[in-house]
Amino acid sequence: MNSISPKINAVASPRRVLLVEDSSVTQDIVELMLTQAGHTVSIASDGAMALRLLAKDEFDVVLTDFHLPDITGLDVVTQYLETHPQGPRPAFVAITGDVRGLLADRANCEVFDRIVPKPLDIDLLCELVEAPVVPVVPTVRVKAVPGTAGNAIEALPLAYFRWPASRNQDVTPRLMGVDAILVESCEALDVLWRQPGVNTLPVIDMTGRLGTSADVDGTALRLGDTDRILALVELFHDRRAELHTDFLRSNEPTDRLLARLHVANTPLTPRLDGTASSLFAWNLVASSDEIGLAVSKLVAEGFLETAFHERVHHCPACQSARLIVREECSACGSAHLNEESYLHHFRCSYQGPETDFRHGDELTCPKCRRTLAHFGRDYDRPGLMVRCQACAAITSEPSVAFRCVDCATRTPADAAPTRDILSAKITEQGFSYLETGLAFLGATRQSLRFADLPLELIISLNKAASRFNEDKTPFVLGYIAHDNLLELRRKHGARQTEDARDLWIETFRQAIGPTTTVTKGASQDFFLTLDMQKLMLGPNLEVARGRADKSVRLDLGARFQLFGPEDITG
């Protein structure tokens, strides 16, 4: 038994989905994916059919293309809501190539629960369908007080997303077409940061407390700042367009950080911040723990280069850098220390703390009982000592220790670990990665992503999957990554490299035989072999690769990653 059935059963809550879509290719893909994930999919190819199905059956989610052959997706929803004013209703998700245009109409925002951009991101679609359904509450726009900074910002022709969100739901679709984020409370900024898309939007601070963590301080606007905001939004849009699509909604903290640095066009810069347990905040809204980890990973990959900014001690127990520095008694650990003079009685060589000598206002030597009458002649003060008021121990150098403000752990100064606070900027390699997307990393580092697949391959894959569901005919989907592609492009130019790649694919196609469809992709190439187990394919592949390699002068560094039916349905 393969792994498809158990996975179907494993879906927590199978959804009934209505897909309203006129493109048969999109129908196939979406149906394949959602069915494999355990949901029930009904398909309507126009608005009228959709309304019929809606009247007949109950659905949890309606995925509707905005532009349908007869009516718009908006019409479908409004008509349905007119006939069903009461009771439970499905979640309506609009699919559109023009998110901004759709959002421009206030009515759209009020009827659609989510908006998904085209080209379709299958992974995102699956997430949306499986997300809990929440009833719609219309967005309430905060009324701006005339003459305030907020008003000036509100007045700009920009679409804002406000934080904290007014609705307790996934903010992802609503960030489509949004120009900037207005932060009205500093709470849970780490949650905000983790929302897909937030990392590529400018943040306007309406609290006045974010400092350089926000891109604009909205509470202290000066003349010309509104222009600056518009320019900033434009910059973010432009630079976002330069990103490979892999980065637009990646959940990988490292990718998100890298994308943010690129879009904001600034290096990662730390600043002192007493409210953070690390004592440092950054020029973005993520928490510093998250940043620290991501930075070290990116540095290891060679995507970021760092420069030393500051070194801080931190608590070995809870990692907090909020430490009290205390001089303490090395014997008992008390910080209750007093400094006292040594007195040296010349005549009898007694040397000790002043309290040993003091009797009222007289100084009397405890060894020889003589009175010390004359400073410089009878005695002097050769130095200072520190006396512990708790245990009476005497030392000339108290030990230094740290006490953690957050967890009260006490750590001797020399045992307290340190952490370097670094600033960071993107390297050439980092830029290449941002342009090339995950393919830059090579196939082994990637998981299976349908968004990368060319459409013709998806259709073939769909058919293969259907056959597998019917009679368990196996198939193998292969990714061909060319490790040396970037280097070759730099060395020999894009054209020559692409020619070599085309020739390689052609030779490979001929060598591997007719049961395999080989398709060229953007940064990677693919093949689909029918009626074959993953493990059986290996020798054939090697032979084909050998022949393909020989056919070209350049070494493309081709590498395969294979997926069977069980991988695809997972």
Binding site: F346, S349, Q351, P382, S396, E397, D414
Partner: protein, 414 residues
């Protein structure tokens, strides 16, 4: 020369005594005493059991940045590691305070105290002794290093509850650096290693050296610790002895130190030692010689008289002997002196061999060739140095101004 030999050989005992009276009075008895005591008296038995009490080492030094670490490391290497090491930087002007702080942080030592003004070795040691917590206080110099069993061995005599203090055996480390240092190597073997072993057998150890000595804490405190220096080590030993405590010597508790390598430095050092000895013995503790004193003790009279005869009178008598010799025998005098020196050389060789046999871990054979020079150097030259020091102290009271003790202390001490 043969005539001289004939003349000397023709003498009978009486005329020889008349000729060599100086040697007979001031040299022979010393050698005989050393021989007799070491060869015929049994060595005092010592407890082989490990000393049960807590042991603290106190080190007070002035600007000893370069030597303190090696000293502490040698202590850490001991078979009986001290329970506590307290180091005082006494007004150091070099990096010693930073060095001892670093050692404190590295837990090589247990306490480090630094003063800004120099107070002198006595005040520093007293303070360290009060700050430490041991039952036994071992006083050490920064420039000393120790054999692995030095601490274990210096503690053994303290098993006897009447013993207040034990002196460690101090040997020069740098004997091969110069002729003067080589002579001192022989001198330390004979006078410290052998001499104190002999003295130990009859309870006559009179100085617990400040470089390496162990004190029972209660005795140290009862005596009030060290008095304002110099010669504070001799002073404390005398005070302990006069209070009825026993003082011992541990020949196998070996400690090494650097001795002066040039003549001027050696002469300055000996001037200081001899001046302090005279001041302490015949000024501060003059009543040891007074049988009517309330605190008179025969045992103290013995070492006072010994010092008076063999150190002070021998030095004073030497010029008179030489003048007498030259007046009486004219050009024949050098021959007589040479003969005397030859005789002494034989005795020195014998004593040296005895010293070598009772001094462990000293490469005695390498020093044999220097005995000839040693014999003349110590028999004549150093005796004049001693005489000069005694006169200097007696007439000018120079010990009250030497730089070993800070000026402010000189101004007021007794």
């Amino acid at each position: 020369m043969s005539a001289a030999a004939d003349y000397l050989l023709a003498q009978n005992w009486e005329s020889l005594l008349k000729l060599f009276w100086f040697v007979v009075i001031f040299e022979m008895p010393r050698y005989l005493l050393l021989f007799a005591l070491t060869a015929f008296l049994p060595k005092l038995r010592e407890d082989e059991e490990p000393f049960p009490g807590r042991v603290s080492v106190v080190i007070a030094g002035h600007s000893e940045e370069d030597t303190i670490e090696a000293c502490v490391l040698a202590l850490r290497e001991q078979s009986r590691v001290p329970d506590e090491i307290v180091v005082i930087s006494d007004g150091s002007t070099d990096g010693m305070p930073a060095k001892i702080s670093k050692m404190l942080r590295a837990r090589l030592i247990n306490a480090a105290h630094s003063t800004d003004l120099r107070s002198g070795k006595s005040a520093g040691t007293n303070m360290a002794a009060r700050l430490c917590t041991g039952d036994i206080i071992i006083n050490a110099d920064c420039d000393c290093s120790f054999d692995r069993h030095a601490i274990r061995n210096i503690l053994r005599p303290l098993a006897d509850p009447d013993v207040a203090a034990v002196c460690g055996s101090i040997l020069p480390r740098n004997t091969h650096h110069s002729l003067v240092a080589a002579f001192q190597g022989i001198e330390y073997m004979i006078s410290i290693s052998l001499g104190k072993q002999a003295a130990d057998r009859v309870g006559q150890v009179t100085c617990i050296s400040g470089a390496f000595g162990a004190f029972r804490r209660d005795a140290f405190e009862m005596a009030g610790g060290l008095d304002a220096g110099g010669g504070e080590d001799l002073d404390l030993t005398i005070r302990l002895r006069r209070s009825g405590w026993k003082v011992r010597f541990a020949a196998d508790a070996q400690c090494y130190t650097d001795v002066p390598e040039t003549l001027p430095v050696l002469v300055r050092q000996r001037f200081r030692w001899e001046r302090d000895a005279v001041r302490l013995r015949y000024r501060k503790h003059a009543d040891m010689m007074n049988p009517f004193s309330r605190r008179f003790r025969w045992s103290e009279l013995v070492h006072e008289v010994e010092f008076l005869i063999f150190n002070v009178l021998a030095a004073v008598a030497l010029p008179f002997y030489l003048v007498w010799l030259f007046q009486t025998y004219g050009s024949f005098a050098p021959t007589i002196l040479l003969a005397a020196q030859l005789g002494l050389l034989v005795l020195d060789c014998a004593v040296f061999l005895l010293a070598a046999s009772v001094t462990p871990k000293m490469n005695a054979w390498a020093m044999m060739p220097y005995i000839l020079g040693y014999s003349v150097f110590y028999g004549l030259y150093m005796r004049f140095v001693r005489l000069a020091a005694y006169l200097d102290e007696w007439i000018f009271r120079s010990s009250y101004s030497d730089s070993y003790v800070p000026e402010k202390v000189h101004n007021v001490r007794g």
